[in-house]
């Protein structure tokens, strides 16, 4: 019974306490929170603006690159190697080829420079490719690389497709010719030795 009375009194006091409790935080809290809210969203807006600006600048840069940039055009014309290019190597000729020769090879005078550490892997260099006539079908676009010269003994009739005028009665005769063959295995030019 006493417990019930006690509990009743406690309940009444709890209600009093609830009634007398302040109902909310002061206005200062609201003011501080609103200031924090404004500051937070101003910063967010600024960040968003900076982000958009960066994105726009990047887009403009990408567009300019697309419009003004041109890829390097590769030279498709077949060109005989210049003297400064890599020298042709002497190859062993296949069985049907008479021999692999290096025509008109001249040894370049060796100029020794002080403190020069560059060296060539091949001691012999061709100074020119005089007398070679480019073949009409040799425009493959593949760089010549390190060409080789092979000497072949072919019937005269074989030179007709290459553009040579062949007399009818001489088509069975054989003729020695030097072929300049690129790294891709395609004959690029032909030369007829003097003999």
């Amino acid at each position: 019974m006493n417990e019930q009375v006690e509990q009743f009194e406690i309940d009444a006091q709890l209600r009093d306490l609830a009634r007398t409790t302040p109902q909310g935080a002061g206005f200062a809290v609201e003011a501080r929170l609103l200031a924090a809210y404004r500051h937070h969203h101003q910063r967010r807006r600024l960040n968003r603006w900076l982000y958009l600006e960066s994105a726009a600048l990047l887009s403009i840069a990408a567009l300019a690159l697309l419009v003004f940039w041109r890829p390097p055009i590769r030279e498709l014309r077949p060109t005989l190697p210049a003297a400064s290019e890599a020298p042709p190597v002497i190859a062993s000729a296949p069985s049907f080829v008479d021999s692999a020769v290096v025509p008109s090879v001249q040894r370049q005078p060796v100029r020794r420079r002080k403190k020069s550490y560059s060296h060539s892997s091949t001691p012999e260099r061709f100074n020119d490719f005089d007398g070679f006539i480019p073949l009409p079908y040799a425009a493959s676009g593949v760089p010549m690389g390190q060409p080789i010269i092979v000497r072949m003994n072919l019937p005269m009739s074989e030179f007709g497709p290459a553009g040579a005028a062949v007399l009818p009665n001489s088509s069975s005769q054989h003729l020695a010719a030097d072929f300049l063959i690129g790294q891709d295995g395609v004959a690029r030019a032909v030369r007829f030795p003097e003999q």
């Binding site: 406690i10 709890l14 609830a18 007398t20 409790t21 909310g24 807006r45």
Partner: protein, 200 residues
């Protein structure tokens, strides 16, 4: 302005979630409405739990700062916004009480109520009677889990279901905790009254 337009065009009483979304997008009026709708409950809960209005204000402010900075943390499918806010407040109060404990503040001491009755403390200014002081000291001396249910069910007059939802526990747990809390409260009141020599 955005909020006013929304009010005029769609709903007169937007939900908490709608207000939160508008607030996250930068609608200050939506945030103000949200704050005014929930600050009272958060403040009173923090006040009853801590016993000090300055701490309660600080906790209220911290809770709404979370709303400002991390509104996305609230998931509508997990519960109500009020439950979410009370949850944040509970964590902050718990941390605060741990700090008090390490700072050797004795909440069981009934003199704390009188100390808190300083003119600068509006909470205690309103509690004029000695019995209320003793009762408040007794509530503050309860363990946090019992104090929470006492505050929500007895002082805030919420239903057990509401309290269970806000505290994130089962209905039976709320009932048993409240029963135990009342027993403890009665015993502590008796002890305090005997010590103070005043009748409750």
């Amino acid at each position: 302005m955005q909020y006013l337009t929304r009010l005029a065009t769609s709903e007169d009483n937007p939900s908490d979630f709608e207000l939160l979304q508008l607030s996250a997008r930068g609608d200050e009026e939506a945030f103000t409405t949200l704050y005014r709708r929930h600050q009272g409950a958060i403040f009173r809960f923090a006040l009853h739990m801590s016993g000090r209005s300055d701490i309660a204000e600080e906790i209220t402010q911290e809770v709404f700062l979370v709303v400002i900075r991390d509104a996305d943390a609230f998931r509508e499918e997990r519960g109500t916004l009020e439950g979410f806010l009370i949850g944040i407040a509970r964590n902050k109060i718990r941390r605060h009480l741990e700090g008090l404990r390490s700072g050797q503040t004795n909440l069981e001491d009934p003199t704390i109520a009188r100390e808190l009755s300083s003119p600068s403390n509006p909470y205690m200014d309103l509690a004029r009677t000695r019995e209320t002081d003793v009762l408040r000291a007794a509530i503050l001396s309860l363990p946090a889990r019992y104090r929470e249910v006492t505050v929500l069910c007895d002082l805030e007059e919420r239903t057990y279901e509401d309290a269970a939802m806000l505290l994130g526990c089962a209905l039976g747990t709320v009932r048993s905790r409240l029963h135990r809390a009342r027993k403890l409260l009665s015993a502590r009141l008796r002890k305090l009254v005997n010590r103070e020599g005043c009748a409750v």
